[in-house]
């Protein structure tokens, strides 16, 4: 008997201690809210909540632990009510409760929820029992369906937003690797410049060649040797014809064309690449 | 910028060494009141095209200490390219053998020639007495007289003649042959280089006079 009493006493002390802690942190939090609401940041509010919930948790654990006797079995009996001011009580409650009278006792010593609340609990428990497991399962499925749908919608929205963001960054693209490469190739090796000139001068020289052909053939005695090199060169180049056809023709500046008429006219049938190659050879 | 320059070869009298001639000329400079202002050097190196090149050319690369950061490249066609010293490096890459093969140009062996000596100033005149050596062999003496304030040879030739005659004697009765064609145009440093090159080419053709005179 005495042992039980002692246990109860210990448990109560522990309870009081926990509740005191809880109250202290509540007070601290409230005062913070009141005085520092301007500077307080949301994370620090969350910290306070976490502290409170931790303390509540430990309080709950304490109540469930085996060391604590089942408090439900204990009876609290108000022996006397008095409308007079009770100094002791005032001190204990930090001047919150002045007297142990009829007004406060029902509130403080209540063991049941308020009737309204009780009624609501009853209602919901009744509603819970109405559903058969089948219906519950159905509702559960429906619920799952809905949530998964919502999840899908959210996901697709997220994807949309991400792709939007990507698109935005591609809109704001300010440099392109291919342009860089093209620009460097043109400054370093003249790529692209040579093919351009071909477009503008390609058709003309051919016409010129045809009209000039007889004249030049007569006038130059050296022509045959040029033919030889041309054949050789053409043979050497044919493999790469497609590749080079575009790039080589730049050597056809008006000046060079006229000075090398003899060679060009003879090359009439061969590819531009071969022509330019002979041209180079002739120059060398 | 520079003035008009005349370069003459000094006729070395029989029985005198190059050093003696230079000494006596230097003494003469002191007498006419010119002040020593250091040394000078004009050098010339000759390159030749690789036999397989489309065009066969000789290039003379000259430097003049009067234009210390400049390199003059003279082609046998007469074209003079005036550039900064880095052209030496470009020439070097053109002569450089790459992976076992020859370069586009080759240095001609035994053609390095230079004129070195004292530089004097007399009022606005600059007088240079240089002894010419081809591969360290003494070849002769070159006198350079520059009149700085003017740029037109035709204007100041008579004036220069007076001082030139006092140094090189009758040789200076007529202007240097290169100058004759340029009497009325503005004088440039390239013209000086051409005069030196003419003399250098002449020296390369002659047998070494020092051996006869020493």
């Amino acid at each position: 008997m005495q042992k039980e009493e002692k246990q109860l006493e210990l448990a109560l002390d522990a309870l009081i201690q926990r509740v005191q802690d809880l109250k202290n942190s509540l007070v601290a939090f409230l005062s913070k809210l009141e005085n520092e609401y301007q500077t307080m940041s949301w994370p620090s509010v969350l910290d306070n909540f976490a502290l409170l919930s931790g303390q509540l948790n430990s309080l709950g654990k304490l109540l469930k632990s085996e060391k604590v006797p089942i408090l439900r079995n204990q009876i609290l009996l108000p022996l006397a009510l008095s409308p007079d001011r009770d100094q002791e009580l005032e001190k204990l409650t930090e001047r919150r409760v002045f007297a142990f009278n009829h007004e406060v006792v029902p509130d403080y010593l209540r063991t049941k929820p308020e009737p309204d609340v009780e009624k609501k609990i009853q209602e919901s428990s009744v509603r819970a029992t109405i559903n058969t497991p089948d219906v519950a399962q159905k509702q559960l499925n429906a619920m799952n369906k809905v949530t998964s749908n919502i999840l899908d919608i959210i996901n697709s929205h997220r994807d949309d937003m991400e792709s939007d963001a990507n698109q935005k960054s591609s809109l704001a693209q300010t440099s392109s690797m291919s342009d860089t490469n093209a620009l460097i190739a043109v400054t370093m090796f003249g790529k692209g410049l040579k093919s351009l000139r071909r477009d503008s001068s390609q058709s003309q020289p051919i016409i010129q060649q045809q009209t000039q052909q007889p004249k030049t053939q007569v006038s130059t005695g050296k022509a045959p040797s040029a033919v030889k090199t041309n054949i050789k060169a053409a043979a050497a180049v044919t493999v790469n014809k497609q590749e080079f056809a575009g790039t080589f023709t730049s050597d056809f500046e008006p000046g060079t064309i006229s000075s090398h008429d003899n060679i060009l006219t003879l090359n009439k049938e061969s590819s531009p690449a071969a022509m330019s190659d002979t041209l180079n050879k002739a120059n060398n | 910028m520079m003035g008009v320059v005349c370069v003459y070869a000094y006729n070395i009298p029989e029985g005198k060494s190059g050093q003696q001639v230079v000494d006596s000329l230097q003494k003469q400079m002191d007498i006419i009141g010119a002040t020593k202002t250091g040394n000078f050097c004009v050098d010339c190196e000759t390159y030749q095209s690789h036999p397989q090149n489309a065009q066969q050319r000789s290039i003379h690369i000259l430097h003049n200490s009067e234009q210390p950061a400049t390199c003059f490249s003279v082609l046998d066609s007469g074209t003079v390219l005036v550039s900064d010293m880095l052209f030496d490096l470009i020439m070097n890459t053109m002569t450089q053998a790459k992976s076992g093969r020859e370069g586009f140009f080759q240095q001609r062996k035994g053609f390095k020639i230079e004129s070195r000596g004292q530089r004097y100033e007399l009022a606005d005149f600059v007088i240079k007495i240089g002894s010419v050596s081809l591969m360290a062999n003494f070849k002769g003496v070159l006198i350079e007289v520059e009149y700085c304030p003017s740029q037109v040879p035709g204007d100041c030739w008579n004036l220069m003649k007076e001082i030139l005659q006092s140094i090189v004697g009758n040789t200076a009765d007529t202007p240097p042959s290169y100058i004759k064609t340029k009497m009325d145009s503005l004088y440039t440093p390239a013209d000086t280089i051409n005069q030196y090159l003419e003399h250098f080419n002449a020296f390369r053709k002659t047998a070494t006079p020092g051996q006869q005179n020493r």
Partner: protein, 302 residues
């Protein structure tokens, strides 16, 4: 107190907004036009009147409130206005500000120096009595130095046409004073500073030299690198005194230039007296003032 103020302000703002909406409504209604059916004009007019009345009410409300407001003093620094300019990239404001900043610093520094130097030496230049001034006034004042720029321009352009081998360019690098740059054939260049039409100074340099400072401005002070031109500069400066004639400035300038033109043979003409080109390694640097014949400095004095 402050709260009250703020409250009144917000109230005023909301009233202003109200006023704006009502005014906007009136105008938008007017601009959209009314559908007026026959006999309905009065109703439309009523609508308009109502709207106008609302405007009036709102306005008077606001007016009532305004006297209670203290004027709010918003002190915005000038720099805040910079933000208003939307295309600051296009305006040269940045470079102008840096430039102005540099100059203010410079001016400040120089002013410091100047005040430090001036404070110990107080110069009193206008300490003349009235007497000499009066005498001066009686004399005919020479005006050669006070010819307007247009007159100088005219005179110079007339002079320029006289010689084909002596182009003259006129500039005014520092205010009113004209600076002439003369290239004489291919022999030399000269810089003449004029005050009005009076010759203030002359500098002669070689054809290969120029009259520019390293910063690219006109250089009025440096002398030639070559001794011969420094001698010529001295000679010509001396001659300017000879040619100076305060009453006929244009004539004096013209005769000076005629004489100066003879320097184009500086290197090619021998001395008239000794017949030689060189004397002490110098060409004949002197030109006789009347005949403009070339002479050596040494020969001139004998």
């Amino acid at each position: 107190m402050a709260d009250n103020e703020v409250e009144r302000l917000t109230q005023a703002i909301s009233l202003t907004q109200k006023l704006r909406t009502s005014v906007t409504r009136v105008f938008s209604d007017l601009s959209d036009g009314y559908h007026i059916s026959q006999g309905n004009e009065k109703a439309s007019l009523n609508v308009l009147q109502k709207a106008l009345l609302t405007v009036n009410d709102n306005y008077s409300d606001l007016e009532k409130l305004v006297p209670n407001l203290n004027s709010v003093n918003i002190t915005a620094p000038n720099s805040a206005l910079v933000g208003i300019d939307p295309v600051y990239d296009k305006t040269p404001i940045y470079s102008q500000i840096t430039h102005a900043h540099k100059w203010t610093n410079k001016v400040h520094k120089l002013a410091d120096y100047a005040s430090a130097i001036l404070s110990p030496n107080q110069l009193k230049r206008t300490h003349q009595g009235g007497q000499p001034l009066a005498i001066k006034r009686q004399r005919k004042t020479p005006h050669a130095h006070a010819i307007p720029p247009q007159g100088v321009d005219q005179c110079i352009s007339a002079l320029e046409r006289l010689w084909s081998d002596m182009p003259i360019t006129l500039s005014r690098p520092m205010g009113n004073c004209a600076v002439l740059q003369i290239t004489l054939s291919r022999t030399l260049r000269a810089l003449i500073v004029l005050r009005g039409l009076l010759i203030e100074s002359v500098i002669v340099k070689a054809y290969s030299e120029d009259f520019l400072t390293p910063e690219g401005k006109v250089d009025l002070w440096s002398r030639s690198r070559y001794q011969v031109f420094n001698k010529v500069t001295d000679m010509v400066t001396a001659a300017t005194l000879h040619f100076c004639h305060p009453q006929m400035p244009d004539l004096s300038l013209r005769s000076f230039l005629v004489w100066f033109n003879s320097y184009k043979t500086l290197f090619s003409a021998p001395c008239q007296k000794c017949g030689k080109h060189l004397q002490g390694a110098f060409p004949p640097v002197w030109r006789e003032l009347r005949t403009a014949t070339p002479q050596h400095d040494g020969c001139r004095q004998t």
